[in-house]
């Protein structure tokens, strides 16, 4: 035994070699770390501040969820999800927000079908092709710039291009004047908004695949395109899914584009004379975010109870997306990583 037993216990790590022992020594704890007891006061105060901020963030998140949960249970009736909004003076008369709910779902699906293939294609080009180099650099900058551009700017840009005569078939047209507000317009601009997240996530996945995997595939005579489709993309499916979830979260949470490019109404306003799905998609509509914005005390409807109910539904969707992302992550981690 080490001489001076009591002292040895205060040591955090065993000192010296325990030679010639009959019983095996205690292995040092694997997570042996220095405690804060020896630090100066200022350092300890700093650590306390870290704890304070960490707990504060947890408390804020918990407060948001619990508060909306309480308000949601209080005000949300299942009938609101199937009743369209109606004109009325009291909250009881003005119906529900079914159009907003379905608008969110439609818009999510539409934007993601635009953004996902485009984003994955850009990421594949950047990682696997990337020639000429100057174009790759410009593309990286473009994606980065798109990520930083405020969504109001996209929205204003959308009002210009979608009210041009050439794109009139995507929205309502009245005697040659193109209305410019439609699900198509909003979906296109939202897809642009979601694009950088999908590109970044997919790139990360592709970059994590070691070279030898590609070389093995080339070695058996596969082309680059076949390798990408059969090996690389299936391998980084979790990252693509993560990017899609993040993008979907961004699409569902955006309000400025909806207010400017889709909203102005709380109901679907299908275009007359167009075949079934197109008449709705070419018309104006609304989403949950727009409904919350308009129903809040600062909006035009001023129905705070229903705003809470819609916000609860919205938060629930966001929480589901977050849970799905976490599930994908933990599954991917269990599946293991490449050995380099």
């Amino acid at each position: 035994m080490t001489p001076g037993g009591p002292q040895a216990q205060t040591e955090e790590l065993p000192v010296g070699l325990p030679g010639g022992l009959t019983e095996p020594p205690q292995p040092p704890p694997t997570n042996a770390v220095e405690g804060s007891s020896t630090w100066s006061l200022l350092d300890r105060l700093g650590l306390a501040f870290c704890w304070f901020l960490g707990l504060l963030f947890c408390a804020i998140a918990a407060a948001i969820v619990i508060y909306l949960l309480i308000k949601g249970i209080q005000f949300l009736k299942p009938s609101m999800l199937v009743t369209p909004a109606a004109a009325g003076f009291t909250e009881g008369e003005s119906g529900g927000f079914s159009d907003a709910f379905f608008g969110t779902l439609i818009l999510g699906v539409m934007s993601l079908t635009l953004a996902l293939p485009t984003g994955v294609a850009i990421a594949v080009w950047l990682v696997e092709y990337g020639r000429p180099k100057a174009l790759a650099r410009v593309t990286e900058m473009t994606v980065e710039a798109i990520a930083g551009i405020p969504s109001v700017v996209f929205a204003l840009f959308g009002t210009v291009i979608f009210s041009s005569a050439a794109l009139g078939f995507l929205s309502r047209t009245n005697e040659g004047v193109v209305f410019g507000r439609s699900f198509f317009a909003a979906a296109a601009m939202l897809a642009l908004e979601a694009l950088p997240l999908i590109v970044a996530s997919t790139r990360e996945g592709l970059n994590a695949i070691p070279r030898h995997v590609r070389e093995a595939s080339y070695g058996v005579g596969k082309t680059k395109a076949a390798t990408t489709r059969r090996i690389l993309l299936p391998t980084c499916r979790p990252q693509i899914a993560t990017g899609a979830m993040l993008g979907l979260g961004r699409i569902i949470g955006d309000t400025a584009i909806i207010v400017i490019l889709l909203g102005a109404t709380q109901n679907f306003s299908p275009v007359e004379g167009a075949p079934f799905p197109l008449n709705y998609l070419r018309g104006a509509g609304t989403t949950l975010t727009n409904f919350v914005y308009e129903a809040s005390p600062t909006g035009n409807l001023n129905q705070p109870d229903k705003a809470y109910a819609a916000a609860f539904v919205l938060l629930f969707i966001v929480l589901l997306l977050n849970a799905a992302t976490d599930l994908i992550h933990s599954r991917a981690r269990k599946a293991g990583t490449w050995s380099h």
Binding site: E34, S36, W39, G46, L47, C50, L53, G54, F57, C58, I60, A61, Y67, T118, I122, V124, W125, L126, Y129, L135, V138, T139, E140, T142, V143, E144, I146, A147, G148, I149, P150, S151, V152, V153, F154, L156, T159, L192, K222, T223, K224, A225, L246, I252, T255, A256, V259, I260, A264, T289, V292, Y293, S296, P297, T298, L314, L315, V318, N322, T325
Partner: protein, 330 residues
């Protein structure tokens, strides 16, 4: 056999073709961004051209100017473009700057905590919490702000004497700089935390271990070595957060108050309770006037200004992150 091979992997999906196809798509996206920049600037040009540099300066009441601009389309006496955006710009600087500074401090401490000090159970809670806060839609922050934070500020933090002291100038109701900055900080900090934690956890372990081996305690090691090595990422995160903060529109449209007033820090601490309206919410709030050509030009001029600043911010962040690579263990 040969034919089947040809049809599956042959010229149809040859590398050159696929490369060119994807390249074309990439070019299209680049072209779309260029188109966006060009369109926004061209549409906003009349407003800049009529005002010159005075566009950025102070002078007059912005709300009245916007009214006159949008009505001038119908009077027949010619379009009016006179617009001095300084109160809006100043409000943007105050709100975005204030929240970015606050969240820089908070995010630094939280990411140091997450990477180095948090026990496993705490990190397992805090990491998803940060991700959740980043993904809450901005209208929800706005709604909670309007219905919870604004009444609280209006009823409990602002005293009657303070309200009376500025009664002739502006009414203090709780829609204030403070509400906007607090909520924007909660929105922006998670973005910074995610960038900072990435960088801190990929600092070369040898550097940290070297410092620890010299007897420096863990707190000072992570701040003097870890945070220093991650400096480019910290710059990048801060700059990206700036881009996000100036572009935030809906939450600020709900919380910052709806008058284009320029709070003045010289007036003492009361300025944090004063309402204002930044640039991005102005676009959202006036978007129903887009049908009036001079108002449209003015709004596009605001958008062009935002676009320019955001692009500068995000490209700076991109450049800073690229220079990060040499510090990291990757």
């Amino acid at each position: 056999m040969e034919e089947e091979f040809q049809s599956q992997y042959g010229p149809r999906w040859s590398d050159q073709r696929v490369g060119r196809l994807l390249g074309a798509l990439v070019c299209a996206v680049v072209a779309l961004l260029l188109a966006l920049i060009v369109v926004v600037f061209i549409q906003g040009w009349p407003s800049f051209a009529h005002n010159g540099l005075a566009w950025f300066g102070p002078g007059g009441n912005v709300d009245e100017q916007l009214n006159v601009i949008s009505q001038s389309a119908e009077t027949g006496a010619g379009y009016v473009y006179t617009f001095h955006a300084w109160p809006l710009i100043w409000s943007t600087i105050l709100i975005a700057g204030g929240s970015v500074i606050l969240s820089l401090g908070a995010a630094l401490f939280i990411s140091v905590f997450l990477v180095e000090f948090a026990p496993t159970w705490m990190a397992r809670i805090l990491a998803p919490v940060v991700r959740f806060l980043a993904s809450v839609p901005s209208v929800i922050y706005g709604l909670l702000g309007v219905l919870v934070l604004v009444p609280f500020i209006g009823n409990h933090l602002i005293s009657e004497s303070q309200k009376a002291s500025v009664a002739g100038v502006i009414s203090l109701t709780g829609y204030s700089l403070m509400a906007a900055v607090v909520v924007l900080t909660i929105m922006v900090a998670p973005l910074m935390v995610s960038i900072f934690t990435d960088a801190l956890s990929s600092v070369k372990p040898g550097w940290l271990e070297g410092s620890l081996a010299l007897g420096v305690n863990r707190w000072r090691t992570i701040w003097k070595i870890g945070v220093r090595a991650a400096r480019p990422a910290i710059v990048a995160g801060t700059v990206l957060a700036c881009a996000r903060a100036i572009g935030e529109s809906v939450m600020l449209a709900m919380l910052s108050g709806s008058t284009a007033f320029a709070p003045n820090p010289i007036d003492g601490l009361i300025f944090v309770f004063e309402p204002s309206r930044p640039l991005a919410p102005t676009i959202v709030k006036s978007s129903d006037q887009l049908s009036s050509p001079p108002a449209k030009a003015t709004l596009f001029a605001i958008a062009a200004f935002l676009l320019f600043s955001a692009a500068i911010f995000s490209l700076t962040g991109w450049a800073a992150r690229r220079s990060m690579n040499k510090y990291l263990a990757r």
